[in-house]
Amino acid sequence: MIFKSTYNELLKIAYKPRSYIGIGGIIIIIAIILFALKVDGAFYISLITGQFEQSLIFEGEILNGNLIAYIIIQMLIIHVPLLIAFVTGDLISGESAMGTIRLLLTKPVSRSTILMSKFLASCIYTLAVVLCLAFMSFTLGKILFGAGDLMVLKSDGLIVFQENDIGWRFLYAFTMAFLSLVTVATLALTLSCFSENSIGPIVSTMGIVLLFTIIGSMDVPIFDNIRPFLFTTHMAAWRFFFDDPLNTTNIYYSITILIAHITILLSIAFYKFNTKDILS
């Protein structure tokens, strides 16, 4: 039954116009970035490499598809959670607002199965958004700008990855980005169980993401103890795959924190959804 129910949830997402706002938004933003970098990319690169030009000589095409993908994922990872929450925050509360929750929960499918289906559907939607992001940035970037080594600017220096060392890093980076976005999707889904309207969970999700991001970025000792446990701290964990050598401790820690958030949030959602009286 979970497959049928998940298929239903995917159909609903596929037919709902708002589902395409996120993907459409990503396509438009990436198209604009690609256009801007194609037209004025050299100037943009000179801003980054300017400080090294007196001590280093850069050979080859620095502004290549790999760098484009890196820039895009860096720029968009802040905005994509909003687009994800826009769809997943509506999965339960939208049914309540529309009244279809009454019909849905009078079918011979347990509430846990329905919630799990919605969670799986939101994961699949998130994956679709990440794949879209990956395709647009990585594939289109390479078509438009060609291949080449990837130059990554870190706080402690400049790292250059050879082209044959990049593919797997992007694969893992996008997987990590997917995991962090699933955390946001689960937060929105959980909040959706508490609401009877669509807007509340979406705004609340973004409010929490914003609040945690502010707490995480404030260099105040009082927050030092909680910062490592905030999921927003680990939203940028994809960058760990562009360290040399890889810091696997950091990577595993981020994965653990994100999975712990997903598990806790999902447990709250299951409890709430299973004990909720449907009054709408």
Partner: protein, 307 residues
């Protein structure tokens, strides 16, 4: 004779509290196979809460609910696979077509539903030709018809319709009423229908319950409760006191009284007696300007609503 093995729904001492507020205080009733069971009560009486509890949308504070001889709490999915329902408004996914909506609910209905069955149901409720249209363009009446098609998808034994005629125009009410009668006669379904309109229940139900303020007021067969032989007849007369005096002398019509606004003489009698009483008034030169009949239950129900 109603036999226990034909009992489809058995609700005992149902209670639902929200904090200090009791939405249902004590409701008990039974529904038997092939009944059209009327669930009657004024707005806020607890009808929807009771129906939602039967459908496991709301968990009861106390009391027991058994359907098809099994406890709802322990056999939720089995029981729901045998029920089709519309709870309050027939809400569907507006961005999907009627057919897509039915396909979605058919997929999780517990029984395999073929495309031809969906088309057959669309035809049954008179929506042929509109099945590809998005539900957002449907009128309330069309959504109600689609709702009935949805209830029948998995060929359930019990159909629960919560206020199915609310918001419909007169023709829509007649159409839905005819569909419900068809469900009983052609498809041999057991139907529970809630309403706050007595005449609606009277036309289609064979058994009924009246609840008010979360409590059972009365229940039984509609014919017994409405007892068509016993009625209250209102006479508007030019000399009420004289008429009352004449009736009091007649042992058949002693049960009479003057209405509160003193405009009518109210006589507890039968339909057959109306011409006899009218003739009696004419013979005694009492002018009759209006005769109206009211059933006792209707009067009782109106008093319930107004309290």
């Amino acid at each position: 004779m109603l036999k226990d093995n034909h009992k489809i729904v058995e609700v005992k001492n149902l209670v639902k509290n929200y904090g200090s507020f009791s939405a249902i205080k004590d409701v008990s009733f039974d529904v038997y196979q092939n009944d059209v069971f009327g669930f009657l009560g004024p707005n806020g009486a607890g009808k929807s809460t009771t129906i939602r509890t039967i459908l496991s949308l709301i968990s009861p504070t106390s009391g027991s609910i058994n359907l098809f001889g099994k406890s709802l709490q322990q056999n939720r999915n089995y029981i729901l696979s045998k029920i089709g329902c519309i709870v309050e408004k027939p809400d569907f996914y507006k961005y999907l077509s009627a057919q897509k909506n039915l396909e979605i609910f058919a997929r999780i209905s517990g029984n395999p539903v073929s495309k031809s069955k969906i088309n057959e149901l669309i035809d049954f409720v008179g929506l042929s030709g509109r099945e590809k249209d998005k539900v957002s363009g449907f009128s309330h009446g069309m959504k109600q018809r689609l709702g009935i098609a949805q209830t029948l998808l998995h060929d359930p034994e019990l159909i629960i319709l919560d206020e199915p005629t609310t918001g419909l125009d007169p023709q829509g009410i007649i159409d839905i009423r005819n569909l419900i009668i068809q469900l009983k006669t052609e498809k041999k379904k057991t139907v529970i229908i809630s309403s706050h309109i007595l005449s609606e229940i009277e036309l289609i139900a064979n058994r009924m319950i009246i609840i008010n303020k979360g409590k059972t007021i009365v229940q039984g067969s509609v014919s017994d409760l409405l007892n068509e032989q016993e009625i209250i007849v209102q006479f508007k007369l030019d000399n009420i006191l004289k008429a009352m005096h004449i009736l009091k002398m007649n042992p058949d019509f002693v049960n009479c009284e003057i209405s509160q606004n003193e405009s009518y003489l109210l006589i507890h009698t039968t339909f057959d007696s109306i011409p006899v009483i009218n003739k009696l008034f004419c013979e005694n030169d009492i002018g009759v300007s209006l005769i109206e009949t009211k059933r006792k239950l209707e009067d009782y129900f109106l008093r319930l609503i107004n309290t």
